[in-house]
């Protein structure tokens, strides 16, 4: 029997990995992958608590998150392609138009 804290710990490690990836990496595609990792950390957390609390609601939400993550990845990749066509680059630092 694996204790709940183990699941939560794995989830936390994954989430921090994803977060650092978002903040540090400069390649847009890798940033997108890091976001996916964070979502999956959240999924693990949800499923673990769903099992622990014996409620199906958490697993349902996890399914929704998977679906939304797929959509998000599709939209994100589409944006990357559009930006790439304009800039010939996937470096996040060059995408700095959202300012004054």
């Amino acid at each position: 029997m694996v204790p709940l804290s183990a699941y939560v710990a794995v989830s936390a490690v994954l989430f921090m990995t994803g977060l650092l990836g978002v903040l540090i990496r400069r390649n847009f595609i890798i940033v997108l992958m890091a976001v996916e990792i964070m979502l999956n950390a959240a999924n693990i957390n949800l499923v673990a608590f769903s099992h622990h609390l014996e409620s199906m609601a958490g697993q349902l939400v996890a399914l929704f998150i998977i679906a939304i993550a797929a959509g998000e990845a599709a939209v994100g990749l589409a944006i990357i392609i559009v930006v790439f066509r304009g800039k010939i680059s996937t470096n996040v630092d060059e995408m700095n138009l959202l300012k004054w």
Binding site: V22, L23, N96, W100
Partner: protein, 658 residues
């Protein structure tokens, strides 16, 4: 059936109101034909409704109260736009809508081609609405609205030819003199409300016996002041002769048949209050008697055809007041009705004469018109005989009834006044007839060639009124004091006489009245029958009396001296005070404000603006530095978000631990 009657009652004033709205707002968009059809058509519809209501009241004998609109209600005060239709109202409604309809039709011919044709009919219909409210209201407030409404329309119509200075002045005079009466009327209404806490006739009349005699006298006298103003009695009669500046149909409708009788109607309506006060009754009778005599003497020598009729109206209204003053309310209303018939007839015939002579009103420039305008002559003659009191025409029955009532109730002074008045009435009316229609023509050549009989649209209403003047008295008031009108009005006005006078006395009085009228005729025939030379000799012989009468006893000059001129001087003084003192103060204040604003403008420019600029510039500098925070780098933003998240988590953790 009763619902239908209630509906008809509500409809009566609505038709003319709709015509007023249509003609008043849209009248300039359609032709005169449409405008006058709307005008007389609406009054005709009101007349038909009145007949329906009248038939129902006659059949059931029940008075009706209809609330048309709940108007003011709060606390224990309720004022409704409500109508009371009892026999008295019925009679008044028939007169107002019936005679009103005939005069509207007549006006179509008389006013043909005048500028402001539509305006004329708008005012006339507005007058009808007001007059209907006046006679139909079941409380003093509605009565007062109608009262003021007819006053307003009277003002507007007297001043119909407003480019004429004399017309504008006459209108103002009528308005101002009427205000004096209205002030008394308002006081009466206030007194009624203070004493009874209600405006409704029914509630007031039910409690009248609880009034102290002094209060009853006060209310009755205040009411009388209102009636005196509206009905042109002494001493407020001066506006009515001047009111003849208005078009002739107006003189007929407003200043003869309907509005001026409102005072009489109001007294009869409030006779319960007057019955409480013998003093007030005495004053009413005396004012009536004096007016009847006084106005008749002025009428003897006037030379304007309409002014003779105007003084005659004042005099006849005096008879109504005299009737009210001796408690002969039914007789007063009877005289009101017959007077409406024959005086409207006389005025409209006079209008027909004036129409034929292209606006000539001076009887010194008439004469010999009998052959030229035969129909107008015949109808005018009917009116003359009717007003003179020669049986069996209308005026005889009503006037004789008032006089007989005065005699049998031992009011010999009033009887004497009325008798002399009747003699003078007969004299001046036949004088008018002789000077206008008999003798040789005194017209200028051009006018004489073009004299023409009026069109049928004018003669038709005249014939209807002539018929009523012929037989109206017999139908309504025969036999005397027991006629149809008396039994119809008995529930409202009470039975006129408690004790029956002997039949012989009645016939004696009737014979006397007839003799008086015939003597007046004879005198007029003697003086004016062939030519007016005899009359002129008499006028020279009694030149003092003659000049006094011709100048209307100098009452206008007296009023001018006593009231108008002092008021004008007082007004000039106030004007000076206003211009120098009050305006000086105002200008001083304005100057101060000007200086103040100059000072504050300087402060604003040099102090406040400077402060605002400092703040604005500071903001600008701060923003210039602050905007560097927004780098445009997504991961910078994300880092800030995460840092904020951790900070939040830390705070939450600390709060939980505490």
């Amino acid at each position: 059936m009763s619902d239908l009657t209630d509906l008809l009652i509500k409809l009566i004033p609505i038709f003319p109101l709709l015509a007023v709205i249509s003609n008043g707002l849209l009248g300039s968009r359609y032709s005169h034909d449409v405008a006058h059809r709307l005008a007389w058509g609406s009054v005709g519809l009101s007349f038909l409704c009145t007949i329906g209501v009248f038939a129902d009241i006659l059949r059931t004998g029940v008075s009706r109260e209809v609330v048309a609109y709940r108007w003011i209600f709060g606390g224990d005060l309720t004022i409704n736009l409500a109508y009371l239709v009892d026999p008295l109202t019925c009679v008044m409604l028939l007169v107002v809508t019936g005679v009103g309809f005939l005069i509207h039709v007549y006006s179509v011919g008389y006013m043909h081609g005048e500028t402001g044709f539509t305006r004329f009919f708008t005012y006339m219909n507005l007058f009808m609405v007001s007059m209907l409210l006046l006679v139909m209201g079941n409380n003093y407030v509605v009565l007062f609205i109608g009262w003021e409404g007819v006053g307003l329309c009277s003002y507007l119509l007297i001043g119909y030819y407003y480019e004429k200075v004399s017309a504008a002045k006459a209108a103002s005079k009528a308005f101002v003199v009427n205000r004096i009466g209205d002030a008394g009327f308002l006081l009466a209404i206030f007194l009624v409300f203070i004493n009874f806490k209600t405006f409704d006739y029914a509630k007031v009349f039910a409690q009248v016996s609880q009034l102290s005699p002094e209060m009853a006298t006060a209310i009755a006298l205040c009411l009388l002041v209102g009636a005196v103003g509206k009905s042109a009695q002494l001493p407020l009669y001066t506006w009515l002769p001047d009111a003849m500046e208005g078009p002739t149909p107006v003189s007929a409708l407003i200043h003869a048949a309907t509005m001026v009788t409102a005072g009489g109607y109001m007294i009869v309506r409030n006779h319960v209050i007057f019955d409480q006060s013998p003093t007030a009754m005495g004053v009413v009778g005396l004012i009536g008697g004096c007016t009847a005599l006084f106005a008749a003497t002025i009428g003897l020598v006037q030379t304007d055809i309409k002014r003779v009729l105007a003084y005659s109206t004042v005099s006849q209204l005096g008879y109504m007041f005299l009737g009210c003053g001796i408690g002969a309310y039914t007789a007063a209303i009877f005289h009101l009705m017959t007077h409406a018939f024959f005086k409207a007839l006389l005025f409209l015939s006079a209008g027909s004469v004036i129409h034929a002579l292209f606006g000539e009103q001076d009887i010194r420039n008439m004469g010999g018109l009998r052959k030229k305008i035969p129909w107008t002559y015949r109808l005018f003659l009917i009116g003359t005989v009717a007003i003179a009191g020669i049986p069996p025409l209308a005026g005889f029955w009503s006037k004789d009834e008032i006089m007989a009532h005065a005699f049998t109730h031992h009011q010999y002074l009033l009887y004497g006044m009325a008798a002399i008045g009747a003699l003078l009435t007969s004299f001046y009316m036949f004088r008018l007839t002789y000077l206008t229609f008999y003798g040789s023509s005194r017209m200028d050549h051009h006018t004489e060639e073009h004299v023409h009989e009026s069109p049928m649209v004018m003669l038709g209403p005249l014939m209807a009124l002539g018929f009523l003047s012929l037989v109206g008295g017999l139908i309504l008031g025969f036999p005397p004091e027991h006629g149809w009108l008396h039994s119809f009005l008995a529930p409202v006005a009470g039975v006129a006489s408690e004790h029956e006078p002997a039949a012989g006395l009645v016939f004696l009085l009737m014979g006397t009245a007839t003799a008086i009228a015939l003597i007046g005729w004879g005198l007029a025939h003697f003086l004016y029958g062939a030519s007016d030379e005899t009359a002129n000799r008499w006028a020279e012989k009694f030149s003092g009396v003659y000049t006094t009468l011709l100048n209307k006893y100098y009452v206008d000059e007296l009023y001018d001296f006593l009231f108008v001129e002092p008021l004008k001087r007082w007004g000039a003084l106030l004007d000076w005070f206003d211009r120098t003192v009050v305006d000086g103060l105002v200008r001083g204040v304005g100057q101060l404000a000007d200086w103040g604003s100059t000072g504050s403008t300087w402060i604003e420019k040099h102090v406040i603006y400077a402060g605002l600029n400092v703040i604005g510039y500071g903001n600008h500098l701060a923003a210039r530095q602050g905007r560097r925070m927004q780098s445009g780098m997504v991961h910078h933003y994300a880092a800030v978000i995460v840092a904020g998240l951790f900070l939040l988590a830390l705070v939450v953790q600390l709060v939980i631990q505490m």
